[in-house]
C-alpha cells in the first residue's frame, strides 16, 4: 500500500487535468485493489465503478485490465509486467521522452524466469527511467518464499549483478521509499527492494496465508478497520 501511495501521490507527475506523463504498472496484478483506490482518490476511476467491482455490470475485476481508466497494462499472470515496463522504458529512451515508469512486483513473481529475462535485458539496455519496486513480504500463495525458494536470497546482490541500481528499504516507510527513488542515478534501472509484512496492521491477517484468497466478512471488516484506524 505504501509503495502504491508513494508512486501515485509523490512520484508520478500530474497536470491539472489529471493526466500524467509517467506510467504505473501493477505487475503483481492481484494487488490491483490498492491501485483502484489510488485511482479513485485521484478522480481517475469513478467511485461508482469501484462499487461494481467484480460484478457483472462492472468493468473492474481482481486483476487490472488495460483500457480501464488509469490501467496502462493488463496483468494477473505473474512475470509479465517487468518486460512490458522495459519495453516502455526503452521506447521512451530512443524517442527522448520525458517519462518515468514505475512497476510493482511481488517476490512470488521473481520466481518466474520471464522476470529475470526482463531484468537482464533492462540492465543491458540501461533504461534510465525505469523504477521497480519489489514487494518482499516472504509470502506467496501457500508457503513462505524463503521456504519455497531459499536460494532467492540474498536479493539485493542478484539484482545489482544484473546491472541495476538496487536499494533495500522498509516497505512500510514512505520516507525511506521516496529517499531510495530520489537516490536513483538514472544511468541504469533502479529496483527498490521493499521489505514488507503481508496483511500489515491487521493482527488476524498478518502473515496468515488464507488472507491471500479470502475477503473479510462484515464483522472481520469492521474489526480490521478498527485496528487500522487506531494506528
Amino acid at each position: 500500500m505504501e509503495m502504491v501511495e508513494a508512486i501515485y501521490f509523490s512520484l508520478m507527475r500530474r497536470s491539472a487535468d489529471g493526466t500524467s506523463p509517467d506510467t504505473f504498472i501493477m505487475s503483481k496484478g492481484h494487488g490491483c485493489m490498492t491501485q483502484y483506490l489510488a485511482l479513485e482518490e485521484l478522480g481517475i476511476l469513478p467511485s461508482a465503478t469501484l462499487e461494481r467491482y467484480c460484478k457483472i455490470d462492472g468493468v473492474l475485476g481482481a486483476h487490472p485490465d488495460f483500457g480501464n481508466p488509469g490501467i496502462e497494462a493488463s496483468t494477473g499472470s505473474l512475470g509479465h509486467g517487468m518486460a512490458m515496463a522495459v519495453g516502455m522504458a526503452y521506447a521512451d529512451k530512443i524517442r527522448n521522452q520525458d517519462r518515468s515508469i514505475y512497476v510493482v512486483l511481488s517476490d512470488g513473481e521473481f520466481q518466474e524466469g520471464s522476470t529475470w529475462e526482463a531484468l537482464m535485458i533492462a540492465g543491458n539496455l540501461k533504461v534510465p527511467r525505469l523504477v521497480g519496486f519489489l514487494d518482499l513480504n516472504d509470502r506467496q500463495s501457500f508457503v513462505q518464499t524463503s521456504v519455497a525458494n531459499p536460494n532467492f536470497y540474498p536479493v539485493l546482490e542478484k539484482i545489482q549483478a544484473f546491472g541495476w541500481q538496487a536499494i533495500e528499504v522498509d516497505g512500510h516507510n514512505s520516507v525511506q521509499i521516496l529517499e531510495a527513488v530520489r537516490s536513483h542515478d538514472h544511468k541504469r534501472p533502479l529496483l527498490v527492494v521493499c521489505k514488507t509484512v503481508k496483511g500489515k496492521g491487521v493482527s488476524f491477517m498478518e502473515n496468515v496465508p488464507i488472507w491471500h484468497y479470502r475477503s473479510p466478512d462484515p464483522d472481520e471488516y469492521q474489526r480490521a478497520c478498527l485496528e487500522l484506524e487506531s494506528q
Binding site: 497494462a73 512490458m84 522495459v86 519495453g87 526503452y90 520471464s114 529475462e117 526482463a118 537482464m120 535485458i121
Partner: protein, 307 residues
C-alpha cells in the same frame, strides 16, 4: 522469403520511424544487417530470451511503436505462448510476430525446431491474425500490410530462403483477409498457403496438362479466414485439393472441411496435411514432407483425380 521480408521491412522502416525490431539471438549478421546498421537504436537483440522479446515488444507497442519480433517459428510461437496470449492478444497490440522457417523446413534439426501446429495453436487466440505468404513477392506485400495495419497482433509465418517467385503473374493482388487466385479455372481447385505453393503449382501443372481447367489459390490469410470466398470456391469447382505443411489438426484442411459441411458443398474434397505425429526422421525438407505424404507426386496419386 526471409530475405525479402527483411528487405521489405527495411523499406517500411525508412518511411515509418515507429517500426522497431526485436530479435532473439538470430540474424544480426544476416538479412537484417541493413536494418541493424541503419537503425541501431531501433534494433534490439535480447539474446535467447523469447519471453522477454514478446513482453518488451508489447511495452513498445503500448508506447505507440510498431514492433516486429523475429526468430525461428517454434521459438516465436511456442516458447513465449502465454506472452503472445496475454501481452499481445489480450491487450490487442499491433505487434508482428515473425515465425521464420515454419513448418518442417529445419528438417535436420529435429522436432524441437519444427512448427507443425503453429497455425492451430495461434488460431485459437482471440485477436490474433495469421498470415502465411507463399513466395517472396507475397511476403513483401504481407510485410507491408503488417507494418501499416492497426487491427492487433499478427503472426507472420514465413519460409527460410530460396523459395521461387510464383506470384509474378498472379491474377489477383494480395489483399489481407481474401483468398488470392493465382490461376482461375472451373474444374479443379488447389488451395494452399506458405512455402509449399511451388509444390501445389506442380500439381496444378499436371492437371492442366491433362486438359483440366485448374484454379490455384493462395490462402495467405489463415485468420481471419475468407469463409465467404471459401464457400464460393467449394461450390464453383467440381474437385478441390487442400495442401498444407501443417498438422492435420486445426489447419486449413480441417477448416475447409468444416466450411464445406456448413455450406453444403457437393465437390469432391481431398486434403493433404502433415500427420499428427512428431517427426523423428532426419533428411532434406523434401524427405520429411514425403514421409508425411506431401509431394506433388503423392498428391497427384493420392487425390485420385487423374483417372
Amino acid at each position: 522469403m526471409r530475405n525479402q521480408f527483411a528487405e521489405s521491412l527495411y523499406e517500411c522502416a525508412l518511411k515509418d520511424d515507429r517500426i522497431v525490431v526485436v530479435v532473439a539471438d538470430i540474424s544480426p549478421g544476416g538479412s537484417m544487417e541493413r536494418f541493424r546498421v541503419q537503425f541501431p537504436e531501433r534494433f534490439i537483440d535480447v539474446g535467447v530470451s523469447e519471453q522477454g522479446m514478446i513482453g518488451i515488444a508489447a511495452g513498445m507497442a503500448l508506447r505507440g511503436l510498431r514492433p516486429f519480433v523475429y526468430t525461428i517459428a517454434t521459438f516465436s510461437a511456442y516458447r513465449p505462448f502465454e506472452m503472445l496470449r496475454v501481452d499481445l492478444c489480450y491487450q490487442n497490440l499491433p505487434v508482428t510476430v515473425v515465425g521464420m522457417g515454419a513448418g518442417i523446413i529445419y528438417s535436420t534439426l529435429g522436432g524441437t525446431h519444427h512448427a507443425q501446429e503453429d497455425i492451430a495453436v495461434l488460431s485459437a487466440l482471440p485477436n490474433m491474425q495469421i498470415l502465411a505468404p507463399c513466395d517472396p513477392l507475397e511476403a513483401a506485400s504481407a510485410t507491408q500490410f503488417c507494418a501499416t495495419q492497426n487491427n492487433g497482433p499478427v503472426y507472420l509465418r514465413i519460409g527460410k530462403a530460396g523459395e521461387p517467385k510464383i506470384t509474378s503473374d498472379a491474377l489477383e493482388p494480395f489483399v489481407f483477409g481474401k483468398l488470392r487466385y493465382l490461376r482461375r479455372g472451373t474444374d479443379l481447385c488447389i488451395i494452399t498457403f506458405g512455402h509449399i505453393m511451388e509444390m501445389a503449382a506442380k500439381v496444378a501443372d499436371h492437371f492442366d496438362a491433362l486438359g483440366e481447367s485448374v484454379s490455384l489459390v493462395s490462402c495467405h490469410t489463415l485468420k481471419p479466414l475468407d469463409r465467404e470466398s471459401m464457400a464460393e470456391l467449394l461450390h464453383s469447382h467440381k474437385r478441390v485439393i487442400v495442401m498444407e505443411e501443417h498438422s492435420v489438426v486445426g489447419g486449413l484442411a480441417a477448416q475447409t472441411k468444416a466450411i464445406a459441411w456448413e455450406c453444403k458443398a457437393l465437390c469432391e474434397l481431398k486434403t493433404f496435411s502433415l500427420k499428427d505425429e512428431f517427426i523423428h526422421l532426419y533428411g532434406s525438407h523434401s524427405d520429411l514432407q514425403k514421409a508425411h505424404g506431401l509431394s506433388a507426386e503423392l498428391v497427384i496419386s493420392g487425390c485420385g483425380f487423374s483417372n
